[in-house]
Every structure is written in C-alpha cells, then in structure tokens.
Amino acid sequence: MAAAAPGEPKGLMGSAGSARATAVEVAGVRRDFGSFVALDGVSLSIRPGEFMTLLGPSGCGKTTLLRILAGLDVADAGQVLIDGQDVSEVPAHLRPVNTVFQSYALFPHMTIRENVGFGLRMKKVPAAAIAARVDRMLDLVQIASFAERKPAQLSGGQKQRVALARALINEPKVLLLDEPLGALDSKLRKELQVELLALQRRLGITFVFVTHDQEEALVMSDRIAVMRAGRIEQLGEAEEIYERPRTRFVSQFLGTCNLIEGTATRREGLAVLVETPFGSLRAEGHGAPAPPTPEAPRESLTLAIRPEKVRLSPPGEEGENRVPVTVRELIYIGSETHYLLDAPGGLILTAYAMNARIGSQGFDLGQAATAVLPPAGLLVLDD
C-alpha cells in the first residue's frame, strides 16, 4: 500500500509540478449521453506528484472523466483546471497532459523509436535532441533492444512500456492511464504494477490511474476516488478507504464486509449504541456519525465490519459486542481460514482468521464459538 505522503514534487525530469496546491482541479463536471448520466457533477482536487486512482465498476464514469481530462471528450457543464489554468476549452493536442490507452494505440506503421519520438516530432524538436531523449526514455522503460521493431512484433507487456515511454517523453504535467494493465495476465500485471509505481515515484509526475481492480488500486495509489453511477462515492488514502468505508457500495467493492442492520438507541461520546439482532452493539468505527436530533432521531442504521477484524473466541464468552455463533462452513486457504458463521436472527457472519498458531488451528465445522466484534472495527455506514 502507498505509504509516502504526496506533497513536494521531486523529479529527474524537471518541474513535474509547480508550487501550486493542486495539479488537477475538476469542478462540477457533468456529462450526459442522451438520457444516460455518465458524470453527475463531479468535483475533485488532485495534488502535484500524487498517484490518484479512479476506481469503480464499468459504467461508473471513471473513463469518461479521464477522457474529459485528456480533452478527448468535452463536459456538458463544469470546469477542468490543470496547474491552475482552465483547459475546458482547450483541445487535446494543446493540453499539457498525455494518455496511456488501454489498447496501447501504438502507431502500427512506425517503429518503436518513431512511436516514442512522435510527440517531440510534432513539436518540431530538432532531430538530434529527439534521438537522445528517445534513447534515454527507452532505457528508462527497459525496451531499448526493441527500438527498431514494429508494434506488431511486441508482446502486450512490451507494448505497454512503449505506450508509457511515448507519453512520458513529452514531460506532461499529468499522466493519464486508462486501465493500462487490463489486457495483461496476472503475473505480468503484478510486475508492471510495481514498476509503474517505482517509475512514478522516481519521476514525481502526477498520475491519474483508472482501474476496476481494487487490489491494483490499493497497491499503487496515494489516494483513491471510488466512483459509482457518475459520482465519487468516497475519496481518500488507500488505507482510509479500506479501513473506513462510508457506504455499502465501497465496503463491498474493496474487499468484503459483514453488514448488520440495526436501530440507533443512544450516543455515548464518539460511539453509538445500536440495537441489532445480536443484541446491543457498540460502534466506534467512524467516530461520530450524524447525531440524531431530538425531533428526528436516526432510526435504522447499517453497521459494517471487515471479516478480518472479527475475532473468534471459545463459546460462552460474555461481554460487550460478543455474539454466539456456530461454524457453518470453513474454507482453509493455508495462511488463513475463512469461517462462515451462523449467528442469531438467521444472519451469517464472515470471519477471517490467520492461522498463526503452530499445531491445530481454530474451530471445526459445526462447533460453537463466540464472535467478537471490536467496537473500533464496527463502522456506521452513511447509507
């Protein structure tokens, strides 16, 4: 997971970011296709040098937003600012951004060298300078030995590197990547994820990355914007999004969550007491949710807790947030065991346990146990 805080732009390639606070500013962008709303008034600030991921299922608008940033599509309303300048009316070829396409979109009739140097040629950079920069870039993405080949002769992973080189050589202020690893097999994907991340760190260029793969997002991003139906449902650092999802959708899109319906009874400081089929549970996860007012107390709530936060104890344990369960099914994965537990009220809880102990592990099928739901891991969702 991304650890370094985005902030100061650094870079071998010169000023990838200015002293401005935002590299990209999206304000109230709308895009309709007939009656289909692709983007419903989306706003977003992306910091210089940040690795921002737009994550969501297909149709959520992430690609549409990316294309609007690139200038390959135009918004119906709202503004796009890059480095503080309004580029909403600026055509794609004049914007200081470059795109890496999902289908790579390499020019089939040109060699790799010509492909990579294309942007510089269009800007009428002198040929000697182009040659030098192309060589440097080919080395950077480790594709130098293929310089004279044509795209058709390259593998998917190699084409991806070329697409990357071709975009980066222009030293864009922002690099846009549209599911660039989508067509690759999983081993190659993981390798390239690491390389891509390292490259971004080294160059310090702002990356906007689109994917539907939540693991990819978690591995690479500084911040993630989880999108659904044309809106950003939650924005935050990877850890934040994973540990503290705010909606059902986000909780189920990254990893999975146990969902428990209940009614709020009382507030105690940062916690909320919720009446559920398991009895009264204490939830502290998000800090304070919207407090129930005397006139309109918040009635029904949904609580969420990640399976790995659910602890299993021997049966009969008493105390706060303890639920008597029976093991309905268990799936042994080697380093972990996944439990499906029958709980009161006909509900099923999922718990993941690390097989940390040496010797026999955990509970058997049909065995009774106690599920402990730590208050700090029990979240109140917004919806």
């Binding site: 004049l94 979109a105 020019f107 058709a152």
Partner: protein, 267 residues
C-alpha cells in the same frame, strides 16, 4: 460445421463451370487458328500479333488507357476525401447524401448513360461546353467511380481503432499532422485498392462510354461491341483475353490490398 454433401459439390461445380465458361471459351478461341470462329483447328498466336497491326485497335487502347488513368486519378482523390469525410464528420443532411451516394452503384447503367448524354448535350447547346468525347467520358466515369472508392475508404476508416488517432492528438499533433503522419499511411493500402477497383470499373465499362463518347475517342469496349455486331472475329477474342487478364489481375490485387492485415490498425 458438417462438410457439404455430394449433390452440393456437384451443383457448385456446375455453377462455377457455368460462370467461367464464357471467359474460358474466349481465351481458348483466341488461340484457335480457325478463321471464322469454327471448331478448333490448331494453336496460333497470330491473332495477338494482328492486334498490334491494327491502328484502330491501338488508338482505342490508348484512349482506354488515358480514360482509365485520368478518371481513376480524379476519382481516387475525390473518393478518398469523401470516404474520410463521411466517416469522421457530421453535417446536416448527411444521412440523405450518404444514401444518394449509392445511386451510381445500383442504377441501370443505361439510365445513367442517357442522363449524362442529355446533360452534356444541353450544356453543349446552351453554353458551348463539353463536346462529346474524351472529356465527357472522363467526367462520366469519375461519377460512377467515386462511390466505389468512397465505400472502400470509409470501411477502412471505420475499421481503424479510434484510439490511434486520439493518441496522435493526445501527443500534440494537429489535425493536419494527424492526417499526414498517422491516418494516411494507415489507409494507404485501401486507397490503392480503391484506385485499382476504380480502374477496373473504367476498363470494363461499355454502356456509359458508348453514350458519352465522341469522334476519335472510341474505347476498346466500344470497339468490341461494334465488331461483335458485325460478327465475332478471332482477333477480338485475343483482344478480349488481354482485357480480361488485366481486369482479373487488377481485381485480385485490389482485393488483396483491401483486406486489413492483422498487423495494421489493431494493437
């Protein structure tokens, strides 16, 4: 998929024989030393040699070539632009005009021929323009060539991954630069294919040429028609064989170029 049954093979065989019998018989008889197209009397190349003696035929061949090259040149440029424009830009009435483009393709050639004849005669009478002859033939040929070229170019354009042009723009190329460095090289095989098909169309045309021709501008098909009306002579067979050969080679080359190869357009 099961294999075709024997009756089907036979049927297909009969049909192919039927389709190729005319061509075959012309080719075979062009080598027949019998004077008046009777039964086989021996192999000879005399009729081919005789072709080069006939000034009439050489003249007609020259005209046919000039007509073909000139009309193909014009039609390829206009047709390529048209195919490109239709695949890229919208304009009011586009749907209607697209449909109208297909009229030269399906219209009976005689209707097109007399329409042009009338039109050129009218212009000649009123404005003194366009004596019937090479010019009018070229104008007429281009008219039915343009839609064919446009169709070929348009389908090639549609087959190109749009992301490639988007990538060119994204990398800083203007519209003109994109066309010159990216689009044109990619559609070039289709342009050549279109040109070859257009040339073949011109070479094969009889009806339109017949009505729009003038003195001294006779083409080979017109010559053949006049000859056939008088009675088939063996040298006509020789001439026809050569024309058929050129058509077949031109078509095959055009077809080969038109099929998008795996390496181009799709990454």
């Amino acid at each position: 998929m099961r294999k075709p049954s024997l009756p089907l093979w036979l049927w297909a065989g009969v049909i192919f024989v039927f389709l190729y019998a005319p061509i075959a018989v012309v080719i075979v008889y062009s080598f027949n030393s019998a004077r008046h197209g009777g039964p086989w009397q021996g192999f000879t190349l005399d009729w081919y040699a005789k072709l080069f003696d006939s000034r009439e035929k050489i003249e007609a061949a020259k005209n046919t070539l000039v007509l073909g090259l000139a009309s193909t040149g014009i039609a390829t440029v206009l047709g390529t632009l048209l195919g490109y424009g239709l695949s890229r830009y919208r304009f009011p009435g586009k749907k209607l005009f697209s449909r109208l483009m297909y009229i030269p393709v399906v219209i009976p050639d005689i209707v097109m021929a007399i329409a042009m004849l009338m039109f050129f005669s009218l212009l000649r009478d009123r404005l003194g323009l366009f004596e019937l002859g090479m010019t009018t033939m070229i104008l007429a040929h281009v008219t039915f060539q343009i839609p064919f070229v446009a169709i070929v170019i348009r389908s090639r354009m549609i087959g190109i991954d749009p992301a490639i042009e988007e990538a060119a723009r994204d990398l800083g190329a203007s519209a003109a630069q994109t066309f010159r460095h990216v689009t044109l090289p990619m559609i070039l095989p289709a342009v050549v294919a279109g040109a070859m098909l257009a040339f073949t169309l011109s070479l094969d045309d009889f009806v339109v040429s017949f009505f729009t021709t003038g003195p001294g501008a006779g083409t080979l098909p017109i010559l053949i028609y006049a000859s056939v009306k008088r009675g088939i002579t063996p040298d006509i067979n020789a001439l026809s064989t050569l024309i058929v050969l050129v058509s077949v080679i031109g078509t095959l080359a055009g077809l080969l170029l038109e099929r998008p190869r795996r390496s181009s357009g799709e990454s």
